[in-house]
Structure formats: C-alpha cells, structure tokens
C-alpha cells in the first residue's frame, strides 16, 4: 500500500509537470502530426499537398516494346498527378537535370532492355538516378519503376513457363497462344494488384496502383516515424521520471521519507513503480492517439499489448540503471542528454533503414548494431508488431536485458541509500 502511495504521489506530480507532459506526449505527437500534415496529400487526401516530383526519362532502347511501355507510362498522362516526367535524349542529360536540382530523379532505360526482359539473358535493370538530398520524390519514382518491372518479370515468367508446358503437351507455343497466356496473366495481375478493379493491367500500375503504392509508402513512413517517436521519447520520459529520485534526494524529501517507519526498499520500490506507470501511460496514450488521429496500424492486439509492456519495462529499467550511476540532477542533465540521444539514434537506426531510400542495403548491419542499445530492442518489437510478425522472442530478450539493468540499478540504489 505504501509503495502505491509513493508511486501515486509521483504520478500526480508528473501529470502536473508541463515539461514532462510536453516531452512525453506533446513532442512525439507534434512531430508525427507535422509529418502527417506534410504527407496527407500523398496518403490519399489532398492531392495538391505535395507537388509531383519532376523526373527525367532517358530511353536508350527506343524500339523495344518493354522500354516503350515503361517510358510511355512514366511520361504519358496517366501519372500526371503523381509524376512530372519529361523525356530527354540521353542519360547524361537526364542525370544533369538531377545534378542541377531541376529533377528529383532520372530514369535511365538501357539499350537492349526490352530484349533482356523478353529473356535474352542480359541484365534487365533500369537505373534510377536520384538527388541524395531528397527522399519522398525519388522513393515514389523507384516504387513505380519497381512495380512495372515486377509486372514485366512476372509476365515473362508466366509466358515462358506456360509455353514450355504447352510444348510438353504438344500444343504449339505460337504467338496466338502466348498472347492469350499473356492476357490471362495480365487479368490475374490486375486482380491481385488492384483488388478487382475493372481497369486494365497497365492502368492499374500507372494510376490507381501508383496511388495505392504511395499510400502504402506514406503510411509506412508515418508508422515508422511514430514508432521512432514512441521509442525515442519513452526513454527520455523514463530518465526524466527516474531523475525524481535524485531530485528528491537534493530537495530533502527522500531523506525525510527515510525518517518515517516505511522501509527503504518500499520507498525505492514506490519510486520505480512510478517510473514504470508513467511510461505505461505514455505508451498507451501515444498508441491510442496515433492510431485514432494518424491511422497508424501498430499491429495485432496481443502484439501491441506485449510490445507496449516491453517498451515500458525496458525504458523504466534503463532509466533506473542509468540514474543509479549519477550523483545529482546537474550531472543527470548532461548524461541523459548525451547517452539517451546517442544510443537512441543507434537504436532507431534500424527504423531509418526501412524508409530512407538507399539505406535498405545497410538494414542487415543496422538490425544487428541497433541491438546494442535498449532502444534498438524496443524499435525491433514495434517493427515486428507492425509487420504482423511474432514478438515473443524479442520480448523475451527485452525482459532479460531489463532484468539485468533493473537489478544493477536497484543494487546500486540500495547501496547508496543504506545508512
């Protein structure tokens, strides 16, 4: 009961602290809100919210069918609201426009591209040259190009495999039959990609498909940003809350508590319970508000509950651990700022790798490195929850690490406050 009385007193004080409220709830929601407002147009709202990125297209395979389709799709009117594409004569001109900042990205279709798509055996890749300072525009271009190429690759595979099957059954694999197969694949792809709309395959990939892709991409960015905010600010809130132990020591209220009949272990326990409850409230509020206001999909109910508990436990344990090494609030101010920021960025680097174009290739590295920080574990569990993957193993790792940090912290506090 006394433990709860102490925790309740701390919670009441936290709720009255404007600084803590701004840090715990205001800043993460504000940051997500800014991104939400910026991306709202592309996520399905106001189309004019973000200008369509400018793209230069250099088709070095002008006679090729696949190249023609891709170039035509990009520069034709179907994507007018999404891309502002312009054909140029050669790759150098396309890249120069990007270098000069006149275009967000350049799409370079190499010579022989169509033949390679049709199975000539060469590399059927398309180069997307982008402004490294931009993220959203080039990502949209890459997303559209990738989807078109996937469709082409799928069609070629369908035609090739079906042709072989026809030949094995003695049916001639002539242009008419292969054309019928291609049309059938297109119809299937249309269903699969557009969810049964009546548009033609290329229409789906150009207009509606691209918008759907954009929506998913923007939703992914918003979810990732919100997850970053959640993880980052939870650890700040944890340390700010645990700092009350040092503050009470300086204010004399902790020594005064020690003069009451309450055991010291109960006093420290109450303080730690308050840290955990503060974090739990923060996590729940952020989850609910971000889901209701920004439409963030955090994952299945069970995963979200486990991830929320894991995040609160981990943040609280880390806060107790770190604070137990600190002398006073002056020292805490400096150490919290440096340590929580540093390991925080290391931890959420795994989330960055998922949304920054070009970072995908480092995702394996960031996935491993991020786990040296507690924030990395918290980021991982939210990644898993949002992706619909099981969170059990990560949660177990978090609890184990939390137990170690909590044990060290409590041990040090007990030693410090032993009379």
């Amino acid at each position: 009961m006394t433990v709860w009385n102490i925790a309740w007193k701390d919670l009441r004080r936290s709720v009255r602290s404007a600084f803590l409220l701004v840090f715990a709830l205001g800043l993460p929601l504000l940051t997500a809100g800014v991104f939400y407002a910026a991306f709202r147009g592309l996520s399905g709202g106001d189309d004019a919210a973000i200008a369509a990125p400018r793209v230069t297209v250099a088709n070095m395979d002008p006679g090729g069918e696949a190249a023609g389709i891709l170039a035509g799709l990009l520069t034709g009117g179907d994507l007018a609201g999404i891309l502002d594409a312009q054909s140029v004569g050669d790759p150098a001109a396309a890249r120069a426009a990007v270098d000069a900042g006149e275009a967000a990205a350049a799409v370079i279709i190499p010579a022989g591209f169509s033949a390679n798509v049709a199975g000539a055996g060469g590399d059927a890749s398309v180069e997307v040259y982008q402004d490294p300072a931009l993220t959203v525009g080039p990502a949209i271009v890459r997303s559209i190009v990738r989807q078109v190429l996937d469709g082409m690759a799928g069609g070629w595979v369908a035609v090739t495999v079906s042709g072989k099957a026809l030949a094995e059954r003695g049916v001639p694999a002539d242009g008419q039959n292969l054309g019928r197969i291609g049309a059938g694949y297109t119809a299937w792809a249309q269903q699969a990609l557009a969810g049964g709309t009546g548009s033609a395959f290329w229409d789906v990939t150009s207009a509606a498909g691209a918008k759907a892709e954009n929506r998913d991409f923007i939703s992914q960015i918003l979810s990732t940003i919100m997850a970053m905010m959640l993880v980052f600010y939870c650890f700040f809130t944890g340390t700010a809350s645990a700092q009350s132990i040092l503050k009470e020591q300086e204010d004399g209220t902790l020594p005064r508590l020690f003069t009451t009949p309450v055991r010291r272990s109960e006093i420290i326990g109450g303080k730690l319970l308050a840290v955990f409850l503060t974090l739990l409230i923060q996590v729940v509020v952020l989850l609910v508000v971000s889901a209701a206001v920004f439409g963030i999909r955090w994952g299945g109910a069970a995963s979200v509950v486990l991830a929320a508990l894991g995040t609160a436990v981990m943040s609280a344990s880390f806060a107790v651990f770190l604070t137990s090494f600190l002398r006073d609030t002056k020292q805490a101010g400096m150490v919290y700022g440096v340590v929580v920021n540093l390991i925080g960025w290391i931890g959420i680097s795994r989330l960055f790798a998922g949304i920054i174009p070009g970072m995908e290739r480092y995702s394996g590295f960031t996935d491993i490195v991020s786990l040296i920080s507690p924030q990395g574990w918290a980021a991982r569990i939210w990644q898993e929850s949002m992706a619909g993957n099981p969170v059990g193993i990560t949660l177990a790792g978090m609890l184990l690490l939390s137990l170690v940090m909590f044990g060290i912290g409590v041990f040090k506090f007990n030693r410090r406050f032993a009379n």
């Binding site: 006394t2 009385n5 007193k9 009441r12 004080r13 009255r16 602290s17 204010d251 004399g252 209220t253 020594p255 005064r256 508590l257 020690f258 003069t259 009451t260 009949p261 309450v262 055991r263 009379n419």
Partner: protein, 312 residues
Amino acid sequence: MEGAIQAQDLKKAFGAVRAVDGVSFSVAKGEIFSLLGPNGAGKTTTISILAGLLRPDSGDAALLGHSIRTQSAQARAVLGVVPQEVALYMDLSARENLDFWGKMYNLRGRALKTRIDEVLEIIGLADRQKGKLGSFSGGMKRRVNIGVALLHKPPVVIMDEPTVGIDPQSRRHILDAVKELRDRGMTVLYTTHYMEEAEELSDRVAVMDRGRIIACGTNAELVRMIGQDTRIDLTLNAEAERVIALWRAVEGIRGVSAEDGRITVLAADSNAVLPKLFEGAAARGVRILSVEIREPNLEAVFLHLTGRALRD
C-alpha cells in the same frame, strides 16, 4: 523520570573528520532539550543518527526505549522530524502534502482526514490548505514543514534549526509552537546556533563543539558553572571618581572600572547591589543617568569554554 531519548557514546566519522565524537545525553519526557553549537559542531549529525538517517560507527541511542540499531522501525514510528530545510513537495498543495506524509506514518481514511484538519489548525493554515506550497512564503512553508512532523502525534519531536533564514514574525510563531508542543506533553530535541532561542525555549541545553558535548544543564547551571559575574554598565552626570571608591566598598561588588565616561560594575547579584549603587550616588550628589545589566548568558558560556564566539 523515564528518559524519552537516551544517547550513549555516539560516534560518527566522515573520513578523517570526527563529526560526532562520543556524544551521550538523556532527555526526559516532556522536556525541551537543545543542542547548541556553531555550524559544524555535530548537531545535525547527532540528530541524523537519532532519526535513522545515519548509522553510528559506535554507540547506540534509544527513543522511548526503542534502540535505533536493533528496533529502527519502532524508533522511527515514535519520532517526528522537522528537517532544517523545508523538505516538502512544492507542486502539491499543503493538504496534499499532509495527506501523503500522513500515509507514510500509516494514517488512513477518516483518521487521517481528521488529523490533517487538526494539524492545519495548529499551524494556522486551514484557510490556505488548497494552495500550492510553491506559492507559499518561507514562513508558511516552515509551518507546513513542522505540521508534517506532528501528523502522527509523535511523543518525540526532533527539530533541526527550524528558524534559520526566516522573518522574525514566523520565527516567533515557530518558537511559540515549540513551547505548545511541550505543553501537550511532547518531548522536543531542538538544535540551534541561536543562543537566544536556546535560552528562551530550553529546559536544558547541551553545548556542542567539534563533535562533543562540552557542557550540559539548565541555563542557570551552565552560567553558574563558569562562575561569571553580572555586569552593570552605568553613565553618570559627574566625574566617576566621586563614587568609585564608595562603590568598591559595597558588599557583593567584585570590581569597578571607568572608561570613556562609562562605569562598569561587576557583581555576583545585580538585584542585591543596585539599590546600594543608587544610595551611594545620591550620598555624593551624583545622578545615575542610565543603567544596563548584562546577565551572564550561554554566549558567554560558549566563549568561556571554547575561547570562540558562538557565531564564529
């Protein structure tokens, strides 16, 4: 008389510094007992040991018979502590503070509510109970600081320099409150470096210096112990030589000196000699224009015992 506080050869060192060096004393129930000494004398360390904040290197103490070493929780349960600095939550109201601290002393429900109302009346802040402590004056905070220590009606109260840095009006209020506690039967251990407070409040005083108690007793006992005379300063309307010889012959006067028109008379008992001084002056046709009597006090006691002033 059964002792409320018994301290026996308490010792506490911080590194090479012996903060408390063999302190022993006994406080009777219902007594105000002051620890008087300059800053750094060891007063706060002594009461920190009694309050359970510090463990003594050696020695023991008992509060109403409960050893601070072996029955720490019971000892703390009979104790109310008023720390030197205000140790309260400034973002909570006076009532919320009292409510929280009451629960720390195992008060709950209606009993707690009733007691909070009583304490708010005692400290004179019933009408400000909902105000945030951060908005209170220094004196009002001090009163709540004392109120917290009284919530569970402790038989023993320790007050560590509760009047440091506050205005005279609040100081008066606190000193009156301490006397009232004694009148209610509480035992008060009071530390101060203000000699006037110790003299006004205390039934007995222990003078501390450098971790030791160098003298202990009532005010009168301490003054008698150093054997100092009462000093009577007088100014006259005539030359001092006209009365000095006559006054020196008066029984009970131990010395007369004159300097810069002021005559200083040393006597064992000012009440006994003053009429004779006036008679002698009248006999010589001299008028006494002013008289100032300085009884020997604790300041003089401390000066006598240590060679230093109390505020050095």
